[in-house]
Amino acid sequence: MGATVEGQQDADRRLLCAVAAGDESALEGLYVRHGPALLAYAEGLLTDRHRAEETVQDTLLAVWRGADSFQGRSTVRTWLFGICRRQALRRMGVRGGPVHVPIDAAVEVAADEPGPEAVTLARADARTVAAAMRTLPAIHREVLDLAFGAGLTRDEIAVVLDVPVGTVKSRLFHARAVLARALADGTEDAPAAAQQAAGRGGRR
């Protein structure tokens, strides 16, 4: 598995070198590889598909212009998602400073024993989870998108979000807990509404 991750990163780096040399098809290659995850990530931050697409446009333009300034201190996809995040925050009107961090996200989670959330989640199907994702705060949605959508490692996520690695871990657990709570509320209070939400999520 490690070898394929390395292979993917090499492919990314080759594409970025070609972009730096002015090869538009290499930019397309990067977009094909990471576009879906970038779009989902940007949409998760902005909660708007149109603005998410514009953000990804901005990201690709920034990659085109800045490809030769990439220094290889991070992986290419970390760089991509970092740019995408900055562009999205710019669109959100956040400049420089960090996104608001809820107090519970800063608290370390005791992650030694299996929690009850796993049971709730294991019962839910993908569409229900996707619908519940929309109710999450952006700070939780983005860590889930980066971990499972983009497939970034914990270290890479830490770089993109500019937080310590331990915070990435605790945010993941918090996101899961909040999502499980939303799922549980949905199934107990109004199963019909959850179904409806799932249906909307599926059509989108």
């Binding site: 992650a111 959330e117 796993a118 839910a124 971990a147």
Partner: protein
């Protein structure tokens, strides 16, 4: 038994290093709790991935459009390089240069010079029967004053000069020419009027002020350009006052004779003035870059 709970999310995401992933895989068959956890993360991951749609080609098309429009893409164009074309219609260029300097020098300099000159001429015509001494005192002063104000380096004009494709030397020379020519023409006209009014022959009137004006203007020019207008004007005034003292007979006859020789319309003062101006023009570009450095630092 120690549960790898903290690694299960990465295990499901596929981002756990190979060795850790193998350890987790070995642990799972023996641990229902961790299997439950993995199932939970797996459903979460499926839900997250279900939100991912194929990347539309429209985004890429829009990027290509924005790359094709250079301004919209925000690419910074290289600043244009200005190149003066000597030889192309030199007379028109010279006329244009002088006309622009006329505006850049500013109306205040022209107004003050005109007032002083007219007052001096009036005084010469009204008070003294031989008009030469008054003219020899007034006209050089006007020249020095106008040259100092027009050629001295004020910050605003410095910027303007540096922004033009014309070299600093050319600009300074154009200003000096323009100012001296204007003062010369005005003083010449005044002298002719005085001559007609019976103040003396036009040649003698002209000789009274031409040499001193050139020399004093050159001194004023040198100090104004190298330091600043106030210094140039002070230097000119000092030379001028020295000459006035000599004329009043307050100095050693030998020194007075030498000063007086420099104050006549003859070769020595004209050559001295020419050498001064040429020397200043030679070092002006270096001065300009030194000033730029000072401004930037």
């Amino acid at each position: 038994m120690r549960h790898p709970t903290g690694q299960l999310a990465e295990y499901v995401a596929g981002t756990l290093p190979a060795r850790d992933a193998a350890a987790v895989a070995a642990h799972l068959p023996r641990c229902p709790a961790c299997r439950q956890e993995v199932a939970g993360w797996q459903h979460l991951a499926d839900g997250v991935r279900a939100r991912m749609a194929p990347a539309p080609a429209a985004v890429l098309a829009a990027v290509r459009r924005r790359l094709a429009a250079p301004n919209a893409a925000g690419s910074v164009a290289a600043p244009p390089v200005y190149r003066a074309v000597p030889g192309a219609r030199p007379l028109a260029r010279a006329a244009g240069l002088l006309a622009h300097q006329w505006r850049l020098v500013g109306w205040r300099v022209w107004a003050v010079s005109a007032v002083v000159l007219v007052a001096g001429m009036a005084l010469a015509g009204w008070v003294s029967v031989p008009a030469q001494p008054v003219l020899a005192v007034v006209v050089p002063l006007v020249g020095a004053l106008a040259v100092a104000s027009a050629c001295g380096g004020d910050a605003l004009n410095d910027e303007l000069i540096r922004a033009t494709p014309t070299s600093v030397r050319t600009v300074l020379l154009a200003r000096l020419t323009l100012v001296l020519a204007a003062v010369f023409v005005a003083a010449l006209a005044g002298s002719l009027v005085l001559s007609l009014a019976g103040a003396g022959g036009p040649g003698r009137l002209l000789a009274a002020w031409l040499g001193p004006m050139v020399l004093l203007s050159a001194v004023s020019f040198a100090f104004s350009v190298i330091w600043r207008p106030a210094v140039g004007l002070s230097a000119a005034l000092a030379v001028w006052a020295l000459r006035a003292l000599m004329a009043a007979g307050h100095a050693d006859p030998a020194v007075a004779g030498a000063v007086e020789a420099m104050w006549r319309t003859s070769w020595p003062p004209l050559v001295t003035a020419g050498a001064l101006v040429a020397g200043v023009l030679a070092i002006v570009p270096r001065l300009a870059s030194m000033r730029t450095v000072q401004i930037r630092s």
